[in-house]
Amino acid sequence: MELSGAEIVIRCLQEENVQYVFGYPGGAVLNIYDEIFKQDKFKHILVRHEQAAVHAADAYSRATGEVGVALVTSGPGATNAITGIATAHMDSIPMVIISGQAPTPQIGLDAFQEVDMIGISRPCVKHNFLVKDVKDIAPTIKKAFFIAATGRPGPVVVDIPKDITAHLGHFEYPETVELRSYTPILKGHSGQIKKAIKLMLEAKRPMLYTGGGVVLGDAADQLVKLAHRLGFPVTNTLMGLGGYPATDKQFVGMLGMHGTLEANMAMQHCDVLIAVGARFDDRVIGNPQHFYNKDRTIIHIDVDPSSISKRVKVDVPIVGHVQSVLSEMNELLDAENRTPDTAALKAWWTQIEEWRGRNCLSYNRNSDIIKPQYVIEKLWEVTKGDAYVTSDVGQHQMWAAQYYKFDKPRRWINSGGLGTMGVGLPYAMGVQFADPKAKVACVTGEGSIQMNIQELSTCKQFHLPIKVILLNNRYLGMVRQWQQFFYENRYSESYMDSLPDFVKLAESYGHVGMNIENPADVEGALTEAFNLTDRFVFMNFITDQSENVFPMVPNGKGLSEIILAEDL
C-alpha cells in the first residue's frame, strides 16, 4: 500500500521511537500536521514561537541523550528556528529539525513563505537535506537521525517541500545506514592511549580538564573511575558541569573566564594536562599565547579531530569516543597496576589547597539586599542538589554554574557556545517533558526571560510544574558589569526599564507568582515553591543591582591574570 509523504514522515518518526515533537504548524506542513492529528504514538508539543520549539527539543536531548525533534513550517517558521539550531550546533546537541518548504515547482520563484532553508541553515547544522522525491523521505530521515546522533553530535535539518508530503510512495524504513563519506571514529588509537597513560603516571602536576564531551558521550562514570584511581584534580568547563561530581573533593570547580582561582591556576601551572571532550575555547583558556607553557604536555581526547590543535597545539591527540577511550585507559591501569607519583601529587595538592584556601567564591552573606549567589546556594539546598537547572545567558548563568553543585551529568542545561538569551524557559519545558516528575528550575534574568516569555502559555497548556528563579537586578547584568569594568561606567542601554509586574504576568497565565525582596524570605519562598509540585511558580527575586561575577579573567587575558572580588 502506498502512503502519502506526510504519513511516511510520521511513520519514520515512530520508527525512530520519537516520544515528543516540538513544533508549530503552518501552510507548508499542513499535510504533516494532518497526519499528526490521526496518530497517538508520539506527542506533539505546541509552542508559541518556533525558536522555543527548537530550544525545547534541544533540552529534551540534553536531558535524555535522545535525538530531539522539532517541526516548523517554511519561511518565517524556518528562520525563527535558526537561533535554536545554531544554539544546538555550537553545543553539539543531536537534533533533527523538519522544516516545510514551498512546493517543488515553486522553489526559487519567491513563493509565499519561501526561504532557502538549506542555504540559511548550512553554517549552523551538522548536515542538511532537501527532499525532492517522496521515495527519498524515509532514507533521508534515517540518515538524519544517524548523522545527528553519531560522531560529534549535532543538529540536522530535513527540508521537505509541501507537494512531496502529498505525493504517494511505498514506505520502507531502512534498517541500516551506509554513508561512504561519513564514518566517525569511535575507538582511540591504542598506541596513543598507552603513551598518554605513561605521561599521566609520570606527571608531577597533572590536571584533568573535561568538557561537554563527557556529558554528551555518557562518560561520567569512566571519568570518575579514572580520576579516583589516579587522584588527579578535575575541573569542568561550563558545558562539562555534572560530568564530574561537584561535591567530590578532587573537584576544583569550573574553569575559565568566571572559573575558580584553583581551577584556573592549576590549569595554567600543571605539567600534564588531560583534556577530555573539551575544546580550549576563548572563554575557557583566555589568551592562547598566555596559556602556552613549554613545560606543559597536553593530551587531548576528542571525538572530533578538528577540535584537536585548533586553538592550542596538542602533544598527544587521541581521536575517539571519550567513553571508549576512558574505559580503555581504566582497563590499562587495572592491568598494569601502576600508580602515579604520589609524592609529587601530594605537593601539587598542597599548592592547589592553598589556592582553594583563598575562597574565591566568597560573597557578602550579611547583606540587606538579596545576593544572587545566596539564592542559588539556597536553591541547591532546597532541591538537595538534585534538580535540573536550566539557565539563560548572563550573570545569573555564571552564578548558577558557580554555586549550584552539580553531581550528575545532564542536570545543567544551558547555552554554552552560542550564549543564547531566551533559552531558559523553553529549555525547562524540554527537560520537564523528559522527566515529568523531576524538579526543574529555570534560573534567569529579567532580560533573558522576556526573550521567550510567551512560553508561559505553553507551560500552562501542558501543566509543566517548572520553577522560574528570576534574579531580577533591573540590569542586563553582564553587559553592565563589562561597562563598569571596561567602559568607565557608561551604562549604555543596559538598564531594563518598564519591567512588567512578573507576579501578575504569571498569574495572568494561570501560574503562581511570588515577589521576594528580603534575604530572610529566600529559603522559605523556595521551599514553598518546590512544595507546589504540580504548579508552575514564577519567583521574582529582587537582587543586588551592583553585584558582579567573580572571579573574572578579563577578555584577552591569561588564566593567571584572574581578578577576585577582594582585589577590587
Partner: protein, 163 residues
C-alpha cells in the same frame, strides 16, 4: 605557503556550496577552485588552491573531512604532484603585435586556437606560475581578455586519490 588540496566528494546539489561556505565562514583563503564529476558519476573531484600556515592547512583538511559530503581529502603538497591550469588569452594581433604574439605563443608552447583580423586567442596550459610568467612576458597593451580555469592537480606515480 601555497597548498593544493584535492577533494573527492559526493556529486550532489549543494556540495560545492558546503565547501565554499566553509572557507568563507572560517576565513580561509581560496585562490582558485575547480570542480567536475569524475569517471564515477556519483563523485566529483575538486581542487582548491589555498594558502596558510601549517596549522591553518591542518585545520582546513580536518574541517573538509568533517563535511558529510566529502569522501576523501588529500593535500597534494604532502608528496610529489603535477599541477596544470588552462588559460585562454585574447591578444591584439595587429601590426607588429601579429608576429610578436605568435613568437611568444611558440616560446611558451601555447596554441593559437582562434584567429581574427585584429586578434589571436591563445590556449596555454601549465602550472599557475608558468601562466603568470606568460602574462608578464606579454606587452600589457596587447592583452584584451584572459580566462583561467584554476589549477587541477594529481599525485605523481602511484599516489592515487580514489575510493
Amino acid at each position: 605557503m601555497k597548498h593544493i588540496i584535492s577533494i573527492l566528494m559526493e556529486n550532489e546539489a549543494g556540495a560545492l556550496s558546503r565547501v565554499a561556505g566553509l572557507f568563507s565562514a572560517r576565513a580561509y583563503n581560496i585562490e582558485s577552485l575547480t570542480v567536475a564529476p569524475t569517471e564515477d558519476a556519483t563523485l566529483s573531484r575538486m581542487t582548491i588552491v589555498t594558502s596558510g600556515s601549517d596549522e591553518v592547512i591542518e585545520q582546513i583538511i580536518k574541517q573538509l573531512n568533517k563535511l558529510i559530503d566529502v569522501v576523501k581529502v588529500l593535500d597534494l603538497n604532502d608528496g610529489r604532484f603535477i599541477e596544470r591550469e588552462l588559460m585562454l588569452v585574447k591578444v591584439k594581433a595587429t601590426g607588429s603585435f601579429r608576429d610578436e604574439m605568435k613568437r611568444m605563443c611558440d616560446i611558451f608552447r601555447g596554441r593559437i586556437i582562434d584567429v581574427a583580423d585584429g586578434s589571436y586567442t591563445i590556449e596555454l596550459t601549465g602550472s599557475g606560475s608558468k601562466l603568470d610568467a606568460f602574462l608578464e612576458a606579454l606587452d600589457k597593451a596587447a592583452i584584451l581578455e584572459t580566462v583561467r580555469t584554476g589549477a587541477s592537480g594529481i599525485g605523481r606515480g602511484d599516489r592515487i586519490l580514489k575510493l
